[in-house]
C-alpha cells in the first residue's frame, strides 16, 4: 500500500478516561471486526494461547478504512501502557506514531497524566487530536472541559471532538479526523532499514516477538538483522501484523507497523527503544537515543520458607524473560536467608511483580521496605551506589549522600489546596508553582481547578504518600511525577532491633529529624503485630548506637487449656494441632516468632 495512505496513531489518556473502550469502538467501526466478533475473536486468540502456549498481545492493530471520500486507508493503532511507572515505554510508543488521540473524560477534565502524556506527544511532534469522551454520561460537562482544553492546552474548540466511545457517538468523525489530520509516515523505503522496537514479549515457541515500526527501508522474512543499541544479531523467523490476530506477511515497508519473531531467548536481548537495521550494509544513525530501563525502586524479595529459594529464583528468571525492566541479584540476609534485591520502575511495577510471583508461581514471599538508589561518597573518596539499607555506611564514614528527586504535578479542585500543601510538606515536598485551570463541578458545586507543582525526594513518595494524597483530597487529586536527577541529602539509617537482633528487612534510610517519629511508629506497629512470646522481647529503633524509640513486648504468662476431661480430649488436641500449624507460618528472628504479616505491615508504613 502507498505510504500516503498509512496513518500511525495511539490513544493517550489518564487512567479510566476510556482508552480501551475507544480502541474497541475503532476496531468495530472500521469493520476490522464485526461488533459480535470482537469478543469472539479475542476468545479464539485465548484458545490458541492455551493450545500452543504463545502469548498474543494485540499491541498494534491494523485497521482498514474507507474514508468518506472513498479512499482506502490503513490505520495502525498502537497501544500505550497506562501507568506513569512505564513512561519510558510510553515515550517509545509515541515515537512509532505520527499522531495521538488525546482522550479527556467529560466528567473529570484534564488530569495529571493527561498533561504528562501530551507533553511527551508534543516533544515528539505528534499531531494531537483532543477528544472529550463520555459525553453520554449525565454528569458530563463538555463545555467546562472544552474551556479547560482551550486555556490549558491551547487548542481551539473547533479542533476538539465530542464523542462517546461507549455509544459510538462521534467516533466516525474521529476516524475521519485521524485520516485528515494525522500526517502519513515520512520514511523512505529506498534507504537502509531502520525500525524501532516499541514493545516485545517472550513466546515459548518463537522466542522474543518484537513489535516494530519500520521507519526506513524494508523488513523481510529471513533478513539478517542487528540491533544498533545493544549489538544483538538476529534473524527474522516470521513477520506480520495484527488484525487483530497475528497475520503473517512477507514484508513490511517504510511506514508500516507489525511484528517480527526473532528466536531470541530473552526480551533483555531485544529491548524497547532500540533501532533494528540490517546486519550488513545497515544504517549509520539510530532513530532515537536508546536507554536501558532504569529501575528506580528497590526491595528485597525473600521466600517465607527458606526451602523455596530455588523456586523463587526460577520464578524471577522466568518473569524476567518477559519483563526486561525488572532487575535482580542474589542477596542474603542474616534474618531472612537467601533472596533477591530487585529493581523496579516504580511501586506499581513492584506490586505487579510480587503479585505475579505469588499468584502465578504459588510462592509465599516476604518483601522488605522499598527504597531508592542512593549515591554515597565516603570520607575515603569511595563512591557507592546503595540500593539496600544494609549497605548504607555508618554516619562517620559518609562525606556526602545524594538521592533521586522527582517533579510532582498534582491537579486538584482548589478547595483541597490547603490540605495538599500540608501533605506535601509532611513528605518533604518543595513548592514550585501553581497554575489555574478551568472550572469543574465538584460535589454539585462549581470549583476552580489548579495544578500544583512540587519537587520531592523519590524516597518520600515510596511511603504512604499516595494514600495520603488521595484521602486528603477525597480522591479528587490526580498525580504525575517525573525523574529530575540526584540531589544532595542529609540521611541516616534507621535500624530496628527485635530482641537485640538487628533486622535488616526493617531498616530504612530517612532524614535524621524524622528518626524519632518514624522509629516510634515502626516499633509500635511491631509491638502490635508480633504476638507475645515466652520471654520479654524489646523492640528498638536506633540510628547508629543511639536508641530513638523502644517498646517491650511483655512475656506471655498464660496459655493453657484449663479443662481437659474425658469429653474434651479430641477437641483440645485439635486446638493444639492448630497452634502447632500456626507456628510453621512464622518467620524466626532469632528466638522470636514473627508472623509474615508483620513484614507487610512495616512495608506499608513505608
Amino acid at each position: 500500500m502507498d505510504q500516503k495512505s498509512i496513518r500511525n496513531f495511539c490513544i493517550i489518556a489518564h487512567i479510566d478516561h476510556g482508552k480501551s473502550t475507544l480502541a474497541d469502538r475503532l476496531i468495530e467501526l472500521t469493520g476490522t471486526l464485526r461488533k459480535d466478533k470482537i469478543i469472539q475473536q479475542v476468545m479464539d486468540s485465548m484458545d490458541l494461547e492455551r493450545e500452543r502456549g504463545i502469548t498474543i498481545k494485540a499491541k498494534a492493530v491494523r485497521l482498514g478504512y474507507h474514508s468518506g471520500a472513498g479512499e482506502l486507508f490503513r490505520l495502525n493503532l498502537i497501544d500505550t501502557p497506562g501507568h506513569v511507572d512505564f513512561s519510558y515505554e510510553v515515550s517509545r510508543t509515541l515515537v512509532a506514531c505520527e499522531g495521538a488521540v488525546l482522550v479527556i473524560d467529560a466528567t473529570q477534565g484534564i488530569q495529571a497524566q493527561t498533561l504528562a502524556n501530551i507533553y511527551i506527544a508534543m516533544e515528539h511532534n505528534l499531531e494531537v487530536i483532543p477528544v472529550i469522551n463520555k459525553i453520554d454520561l449525565p454528569g458530563s460537562e463538555p463545555e467546562h472541559v472544552m474551556k479547560e482544553i482551550e486555556t490549558v492546552l491551547g487548542y481551539k474548540s473547533s479542533e476538539v471532538l465530542l464523542i462517546s466511545a461507549k455509544t459510538g457517538q462521534g467516533v466516525s468523525e474521529l476516524i475521519e479526523a485521524i485520516v485528515n489530520r494525522v500526517p502519513p509516515p515520512a520514511g523512505r523505503s529506498d534507504l537502509p532499514l531502520r525500525a524501532l522496537i516499541f514493545d516485545s514479549h517472550y513466546d515459548d515457541y518463537k522466542g522474543v516477538i518484537a513489535y516494530i515500526r519500520v521507519v526506513d527501508g524494508v523488513m523481510e522474512t529471513g533478513a539478517k538483522l542487528r540491533l544498533m543499541g545493544q549489538g544483538t544479531h538476529l534473524e527474522v523467523l516470521e513477520l506480520g501484523y495484527f488484525a487483530p490476530g497475528p497475520t503473517p506477511e512477507d514484508r513490511l515497508e517504510a511506514g508500516e507497523v507489525g511484528y517480527i519473531a526473532t528466536g531470541l531467548k530473552s526480551v533483555k536481548e531485544c529491548r524497547v527503544g532500540d533501532t533494528i537495521t540490517l546486519a550488513s550494509g545497515g544504517a549509520r544513525q539510530p532513530l532515537i537515543g536508546y536507554e536501558l530501563p532504569k529501575p528506580m525502586v528497590f526491595a528485597g524479595i525473600y521466600p517465607t520458607q527458606a526451602d523455596e529459594y530455588a523456586d523463587l529464583r526460577e520464578a524471577i528468571e522466568k518473569l524476567n524473560l518477559n519483563d526486561a525492566s525488572l532487575t535482580f541479584e542474589p542477596e542474603s540476609s542474616p534474618i531472612l536467608g537467601q533472596g533477591f534485591r530487585c529493581g523496579f520502575l516504580g511501586l506499581l511495577h513492584l506490586d505487579i511483580v510480587v503479585e505475579r510471583l505469588e499468584r502465578e508461581f504459588g510462592l509465599s514471599l516476604v518483601v522488605t521496605v522499598p527504597g531508592v538508589k542512593f549515591m554515597v561518597t565516603k570520607t575515603n573518596g569511595e563512591r557507592l551506589a546503595v540500593t539496600s539499607p544494609v549497605d548504607f555506611p555508618e554516619p562517620t564514614e559518609i562525606q556526602k549522600t545524594e538521592e533521586p528527586w522527582v517533579g510532582i504535578s498534582i491537579i486538584t479542585p482548589s478547595g483541597f489546596i490547603g490540605a495538599l500543601m500540608d501533605v506535601m510538606q509532611e513528605y518533604e515536598g518543595a513548592y514550585k508553582h501553581t497554575e489555574y485551570l478551568g472550572q469543574i463541578t465538584v460535589m454539585g458545586e462549581e470549583s476552580q481547578r489548579v495544578r500544583l507543582e512540587y519537587e520531592m525526594p523519590l524516597r518520600s513518595m515510596l511511603t504512604t504518600f499516595y494514600d495520603s494524597l488521595k484521602s486528603r483530597s477525597r480522591g479528587y487529586a490526580s498525580l504525575d511525577h517525573e525523574f529530575l536527577g540526584y540531589r544532595e541529602a542529609r540521611l541516616v539509617k534507621l535500624d530496628v532491633m527485635v530482641n537485640e537482633l538487628k533486622v535488616d528487612a526493617f531498616s530504612r534510610i530517612i532524614p535524621p529529624e524524622k528518626a524519632h517519629d518514624t522509629g516510634k511508629s515502626v516499633v509500635s506497629k511491631l509491638k502490635e503485630v508480633i504476638p507475645r512470646q515466652l520471654f520479654k522481647v524489646p523492640i528498638q529503633a536506633a540510628v547508629g548506637s543511639r536508641i530513638v524509640a523502644r517498646e517491650d513486648i511483655s512475656a506471655r504468662r498464660k496459655d493453657v487449656l484449663a479443662k481437659c476431661y474425658g469429653g474434651d480430649i479430641t477437641r483440645k488436641r485439635k486446638l493444639l494441632e492448630k497452634q502447632k500449624e500456626g507456628k510453621k507460618k512464622m518467620k524466626m528472628i532469632g528466638r522470636v516468632e514473627v508472623p509474615k504479616e508483620a513484614f507487610l505491615e512495616i512495608m506499608k508504613l513505608g
Binding site: K558, G567, D568, I569, R573, Q579
Partner: protein, 381 residues
C-alpha cells in the same frame, strides 16, 4: 472377664444457660427429661454385660434437676447392665439453690458418694455477671447441707479470670471456700467460645476484655494459698486433700478406658475416641428409632497419637509422665524419644526433668499449651 472402666453419663438440661457456657446443655426443655432418661436407659442396656465400673460420673448440664426417684431408676438400670466396684467413686454434679437435705440423703442411699458443687464464685456481683441462678449464701448453704447429709467427699468448682475481676475478690472467694474445707477444689480460668453470652458482651464493649496476665496472677495466688490450706495441686486445674483426688478423672488422664453415655458424651474404648451426637433431638430420635449407632465421630488413635495424648495428659498431673510407665506401656524411653522437645522445654523453663519422671514447672503449668503442642506427631500434609 469384664473390662474395668469409668462410666460418664451426660445430663444436658439446665434451668438457665450460664453466660460463659458453650457446653451441650439446653434450657427450657425440662419437660423432655423423662424421655431423655428413657433413652439413656436404653443406651445403658445396649452395653449390658460388658463392663465392670470403677467410677461413675454424672455430668451436665445440671444432673441435680433429676428427682431422687429418677436417680434411683437410673441406678437400677446401671446395676443391671454392669457390675459396680464396691469402692467405686460415684460423683454427681449439682448447682446450689435447690438442694434439700432430704434430696441429698436420697442420693446417698442410691450410692452417690461424691458431690461436685458448681459454686463458681462467692461474690454475688460475680455470680450475676456469670448468669448463675444462686447467691453466695445459697452456695455456702448447699455445701453445709451436703456435709450434714453425710457427704464427706465434696468438690467445689470456682472460676477466676472474670472480666474486670481483680485479685482481691478472687482472694476472698478462695479464702472463704478453702476455709470451709471441701476435700477437692477445681479452679477454672474463664475461657469463652464465641457463642457464649459473655463473649458477645465483651465484643460489644459492655465488659472489659479477658486479661490473661491477671488470670496468671490469680492462679499463682491460688497455688500459694491452697498449699497453705493443705491441698495438693495434683492437676493443672485441680486441688485435693491427700487421698481425695478425683479417681474418675485421674483414670482419663492416665489413658484408661471409659464409656460415655448420653447426648454428646465421649468414650475411649479399644483405642477409639468416640463421641455421641451433640443434638438432643437427634439423640432422642436415634435411640427411639432403635438405631445401633449414636456416634457422631469415631477416631481410631494410632500409636504415635496415643503416645502424644498419653504424654500430654500425664503432664497435666503433678507427678507428670512416669518414665517407667511409658517404658512399660509404650515400649519407649521418653527422654530419648522426645530428646529435642525436652531439652528445648527445659531451657525455656517450662519442663522439669527428674530421675523417674518428666513434669511441668510452675511456669509450665501456666504455659502448658506451649509444652503440649510440641509433643504432637507431625501431621501428614
Amino acid at each position: 472377664m469384664r473390662e474395668s472402666i469409668g462410666l460418664y453419663l451426660h445430663f444436658p438440661f439446665c434451668r438457665r444457660r450460664c453466660y460463659y457456657c458453650s457446653f451441650v446443655s439446653t434450657e427450657n426443655r425440662e419437660q423432655d427429661i423423662p424421655v431423655y432418661l428413657e433413652c439413656l436407659k436404653r443406651e445403658i442396656s445396649n452395653h449390658s454385660g460388658r463392663f465392670h465400673l470403677k467410677s461413675i460420673y454424672f455430668g451436665g448440664g445440671t444432673p441435680s434437676l433429676m428427682t431422687a426417684g429418677q436417680f434411683a431408676e437410673l441406678f437400677d438400670c446401671i446395676g443391671q447392665a454392669f457390675t459396680i466396684d464396691k469402692q467405686a467413686e460415684i460423683t454427681v454434679e449439682m448447682n446450689p439453690g435447690m438442694l434439700t437435705s432430704g434430696y441429698m440423703e436420697d442420693l446417698r442411699n442410691c450410692g452417690v458418694n461424691r458431690l461436685s458443687i458448681g459454686v463458681q464464685s462467692l461474690n454475688d456481683d460475680e455470680l450475676g455477671l456469670l448468669g448463675r441462678l444462686h447467691t453466695a449464701s445459697e452456695a455456702l448453704a448447699a455445701f453445709r447441707t451436703a456435709c450434714r447429709s453425710g457427704f464427706d467427699n465434696i468438690n467445689m468448682d470456682l472460676i477466676y479470670g472474670l472480666p474486670g475481676q481483680g485479685i482481691e475478690t478472687w482472694e476472698k472467694t478462695l479464702n472463704l471456700a478453702a476455709s470451709l474445707g471441701p476435700r477437692h477444689l477445681s479452679l477454672y480460668c474463664l475461657s469463652l467460645e464465641a457463642t457464649a453470652i459473655l463473649a458477645g458482651q465483651i465484643e460489644a464493649g459492655i465488659l472489659p476484655p479477658l486479661d490473661p496476665d491477671m488470670a496468671a496472677g490469680q492462679y499463682e495466688l491460688a497455688e500459694a494459698m491452697l498449699d497453705g490450706y493443705g491441698y495438693r495441686h495434683y492437676e493443672i486445674s485441680n486441688w485435693a486433700k491427700p487421698g481425695y483426688e478425683c479417681r474418675h478423672n485421674l483414670s482419663c488422664w492416665l489413658m484408661e478406658p471409659y464409656l460415655g453415655l448420653g447426648v454428646a458424651a465421649s468414650s475411649y474404648l479399644e483405642k477409639h475416641r468416640r463421641t455421641n451426637v451433640a443434638c438432643l433431638d437427634e439423640y432422642i430420635y436415634l435411640v427411639c428409632s432403635g438405631a445401633a449407632m449414636l456416634i457422631e465421630t469415631d477416631e481410631e488413635t494410632g500409636c504415635d497419637l496415643q503416645l502424644a495424648e498419653a504424654v500430654i495428659l500425664a503432664l497435666r498431673l503433678e507427678n507428670g509422665a512416669d518414665i517407667a510407665r511409658f517404658n512399660r506401656e509404650y515400649g519407649i524411653d521418653l527422654l530419648k524419644h522426645y530428646s529435642c522437645q525436652i531439652s528445648e522445654l527445659v531451657d525455656l523453663g517450662l519442663l522439669s526433668r527428674k530421675e523417674n519422671s518428666l513434669s511441668l514447672t510452675p511456669k509450665g503449668r501456666l504455659l502448658g499449651n506451649e509444652v503440649f503442642w510440641r509433643f504432637l506427631p507431625e501431621q501428614p500434609s
